[in-house]
């Protein structure tokens, strides 16, 4: 896989070159050039904000086709907890999990269960003295990438534990390999995802060399098929696939991870722009008395993921019911203390300074000087008509040699008007002399 694989991509023929996406991108990673949007790969964190705002559906998340399942002898589904929020009360968790079996999976392992294991390990880590606080959750891959490109000072605050998806994939694979005596390479593990960032984290992981997940399916791609299958499954019925308790199921929404930690010094923030604000407060040491920050890129957390189907607030209500039906787990019986080391990242994350103007600081300063100068001459309307998200971003693009001052329509108008004045000055030359 190349260094900059991204799930979020553009379908050029659908793009009309409007400015909706460039305005919403939290890392200023999109420009409209020659009437089409382009994504700056180094900057994109796969948050999916552009997918959500694009009125022409030109932005999409690349996920795996369901057919990749056929490449494996034994197929395991890993439903993200947010899947439970996609259906109303008539669809119990038992029914949903059995529905997944009907879709062709041989087994289902709840990511919600792995989330509980992650929460348990987090509790151990929070107790240790040599951890940098506030600890920032690493569950949301878009948030981790945001830190990687914009908040180098927070890299050490990241909870260096594998995501529930990875933990689930590993447990599921190991369990099946052992119990059914099937070689690991013949077992396919498929994550049912609410978001694009998870796809990227599987194809180009930052925390480990290789992901244990074999494929990622979009929640919206299986939604209708799953609904059809579930209709044939009785409403009430037991299901041995249920393994997670209320805490794990609750992880789907904002605040769920915090609740599982049972710490009053925890904070839940959701929506990528809110996350950015809170991170700025942490960098400037304004945020006090918080030990743990659950930061999720989407509004209402994974329930608001760009690949989900129902409105996040409807999903939140659905989930509340699912949580109430789940049993409360006694975490004192959980015993991950001995092996939580296995869940730690094996590789550290590197800062990617995407905003840097030049590798040489002196050259960067000269560019900055120029940037300020250009910026002072721009109208400051941040209209986006030039294709850059703000006047300052255009100034930056000009300094980098990627745009021209006349990309600004106000600057262009100025130029044209100057030109017209000059033409007028030559009027006496081209106008035929009037004769009486």
């Amino acid at each position: 896989m190349t260094e900059y694989f991204h799930s979020v991509t553009l379908e050029e023929e659908k793009c009309r070159g409007c400015t909706n996406c460039i305005k919403h991108c939290p890392t200023e990673a999109i420009r409209v050039r020659n009437g089409k949007a382009t994504i700056i790969k180094e900057r994109c964190i796969d948050c999916g904000e552009c997918i959500r705002v694009c009125p022409y559906h030109a932005k999409k998340a690349v996920t795996d086709p369901i057919s990749v399942m056929d490449e494996y002898e034994f197929k395991i589904a890993l439903p993200a907890p947010s899947l439970y929020g996609q259906f109303g009360q008539e669809f119990s968790r038992e029914r949903i999990l059995r529905g997944l079996l009907e879709l062709g999976f041989d087994w289902v392992f709840e990511v919600a269960r792995a989330a509980e294991i992650v929460s348990d390990a987090t509790r151990h880590i929070l107790k240790s003295d040599n951890v940098k606080k506030p600890v920032i959750s690493s569950a949301c891959p878009a948030v981790v990438r945001l830190i990687q490109v914009k908040f180098p000072n927070l890299i050490n605050n990241i909870l260096k534990i594998e995501s529930p998806m990875e933990v689930a994939a590993r447990i599921a694979k190991q369990t099946v390999a052992k119990e059914k005596n099937i070689p690991a390479e013949k077992i396919g593990v498929f994550f049912i995802s609410p978001c694009a960032a998870k796809v990227t984290s599987v194809k180009a992981p930052y925390e480990k060399k290789e992901s244990s997940v074999n494929g990622v399916f979009a929640m919206k791609d299986i939604h209708i098929k799953l609904l059809e299958k579930m209709k044939n499954i009785p409403r009430n019925g037991e299901c041995e696939l249920v393994s997670a308790g209320a805490c794990g199921v609750g992880w789907a929404g904002s605040g769920g991870e915090c609740r599982a930690l049972e710490s009053y010094k925890s904070m839940a923030v959701h929506g990528i722009h809110n996350v950015t604000d809170i991170f700025e407060e942490i960098v400037e040491e304004k945020l006090k008395n918080v030990d743990f920050v659950e930061a999720l890129s989407c509004t209402e957390g994974c329930l608001g993921g760009p690949l989900t189907v129902v409105n996040p607030f409807v999903a939140k209500t659905n989930l509340k019911w699912q949580v109430s039906m789940a049993k409360t787990m006694d975490f004192s019986e959980e015993n991950t203390a001995d092996y939580y080391q296995e869940l730690l990242w094996t590789k550290d994350m590197e800062y990617k300074p995407i905003m840097k103007l030049d590798d040489n600081m002196m050259k960067a300063m000269i560019k900055m000087q120029k940037l300020e100068e250009i910026n002072d001459g721009l109208p400051g309307l941040d209209c986006g008509a030039c294709g850059s998200p703000s006047c300052r971003a255009l100034a930056e693009d000009i300094v980098r040699g990627l745009a021209y001052e006349t990309d600004c329509i106000f600057k262009l108008r100025e130029k044209v008007s100057n030109l017209a004045d000059q033409m007028k000055a030559f009027e006496h030359i081209y106008k035929p002399k009037q004769t009486d």
């Binding site: 180098p152 000072n153 700025e280 960098v283 400037e284 040491e285 304004k286 006090k288 800062y351 300074p353 905003m355 840097k356 103007l357 030049d358 590798d359 600081m361 002196m362 960067a364 300063m365 000269i366 900055m368 000087q369 300020e372 930056e396």
Partner: protein
């Protein structure tokens, strides 16, 4: 040490407006990030500047910040025409605060501001006289030794 600054910025610091305190320091942080300054140095700069800004908001009745970036360093000059400080030595002590109760209730005014600025800057000078306002000069080197 070069004497010609490459980048000059000036910021207004409004009085008693907490929502805007930190605007200047966060702006400077973005500038330094674009210059490719070491993140640890950026962090020190933004903390020192934020504290200086906050003092102007809480005590100084508003003022200004002037920032100059040189080849090797950043110089931050924060000044106000507020009531001034009577005993600078005492004000520098950790935990000493003259912030009114309502400000402390907001979580500010713990008496760590000036010492925090000193801790995070490479050179720190403060001048103040009762009735004549306060001027704070902060210098931070942008290149670490050995770099």
């Amino acid at each position: 040490m070069s004497s010609l600054s490459l980048i000059k910025k000036e910021y207004d610091i409004p009085a008693n407006d907490f929502s805007r305190a930190g605007e200047a320091s966060s702006n400077v942080r973005k500038l330094l990030t674009q210059l490719g300054v070491n993140p640890a140095i950026i962090k020190r700069t933004s903390i020192a500047m934020y504290e200086a800004e906050l003092n102007v908001v809480i005590h100084g009745n508003g003022g200004k910040a002037r920032v100059e970036i040189f080849e090797d360093r950043i110089e931050i000059f924060v000044y106000d025409e507020g009531p001034g400080i009577e005993d600078i030595e005492l004000a520098m002590k950790e935990g000493y605060s003259t912030a009114p109760d309502f400000i402390r209730e907001m979580g500010f005014g713990a008496g760590m501001g000036l010492s925090n600025i000193k801790k995070n800057s490479d050179r720190f000078v403060i001048e103040s006289e009762p009735g004549k306002g306060t001027r704070v000069y902060i210098t931070i080197y942008l290149i670490e030794e050995g770099q």
